[in-house]
Structures are given as C-alpha cells and as structure tokens.
Amino acid sequence: MSIYIKKSDFDTIAAHAAAELPNEACGLIAGRLDGEDRFIEKVYLLSNPDRSPEHFSIDPKEQLSAIKDMRQNGFVPLGNFHSHPSTPARPSEEDIRLAHDPKASYLILSLSEKEPVLKAFRIADTKVTQDSIKFIL
C-alpha cells in the first residue's frame, strides 16, 4: 500500500507541527481509496488538548466535525497524523498501545532532523506495518 500526499498538504502539516512546538501537533487525513492505495485529499489541523511535547489526543468534538466535513466532500477517513517534536518518525509504545483502528493510516512527522520527515504506518494488534509515502503535485 502507498499513501499519496500533495506536497502542499505535507507543507501544511509541517507548518502546523512547527506552530505547535514545543508540543505535539495532530490532525486527521481524508481522501479516497484506489485499490490498495490511499490518496490524501484533505488534512484537518486539530488542536491537541494534551498540550504536551510527548503526548497527543484528538478532541472527539473536533473529530466529529471533521468526519461530517469529509462526508459532505465525498471523502473517506484515512487516519490521523501527529508530530514527534524531537524524536524519530516511528511509532512509540504509546502510539501502538493507543492505535485502536486497524484500518487507519497513522502518519508521524518528525521534527528532530533539519528537515521534517513524514512516515506512514498501519497498526493492528500491536503489529506495525510501514507504508510508503509518495509525494505528488
């Protein structure tokens, strides 16, 4: 499976993550499915009620609002994203423990390097599978 994301959406996520420093940033991704591949058509920049550099959660009210917007736009929920301000873009034990949707794509943006690094994972029964991310215009 590959995740296709527009460069502009990547930049939007990276800017959101930078704006939320030193805390983790989070949001949702939506789009369309094409066979095994997933195309991100819209990103939802949400608040992190935890306001923590080491933890995030998604506000259910914001989540519900985003889900309705996805439906109105004909998009399907694809998963979520969050940032790791100072650690690599790989799921932590906490990320794995709290990954309850086996169909979701979990995107992690690391800000620990000079340039932001985005990686995508699926997590089911604590088993982590990394998917490739492909950037499109």
Partner: protein, 73 residues
Amino acid sequence: MKLTVAGNVKEYEDGLTVAKLIELEKVETPEYVTVSINDEFVPGDTFEETVLNHCDSVEFLYFMGGGAYDIHQ
C-alpha cells in the same frame, strides 16, 4: 425505526440500545469507540441502557491518541 448510522440511513427494530447497535454494526475494537447521538456524546458505561429513537443520527469514533514520550533517539 430509521437511524442514520455513520451517515447511512438504515432500518432497525424499535428499542435498540447503543450496545446492540455496536454489535449489529460489527464495530471493531468497540471498547475504544466513542459514540455520539445527534452530536451528543454518550458515556461508555451507559451503552447498555441507552435506547435509540427514530431518526437518531449515530456516529462511532475511535479514540485517537499517542505520544513520543517513550521513544529515545
């Protein structure tokens, strides 16, 4: 009665509870699902006794969270 479940209108028997709807809809990992009825969130410990009404709109949301606190460079 008619319910809108995750945006889809479906027919269900009267007297359906949230817990039974979760079962009928085969919601995966239901212990981590938040439920809203007409945009109001339902406490998880009331799913068994919360009865749905005709034309209710129900959403299932997975709790989403995590964090990097246990990652070391």
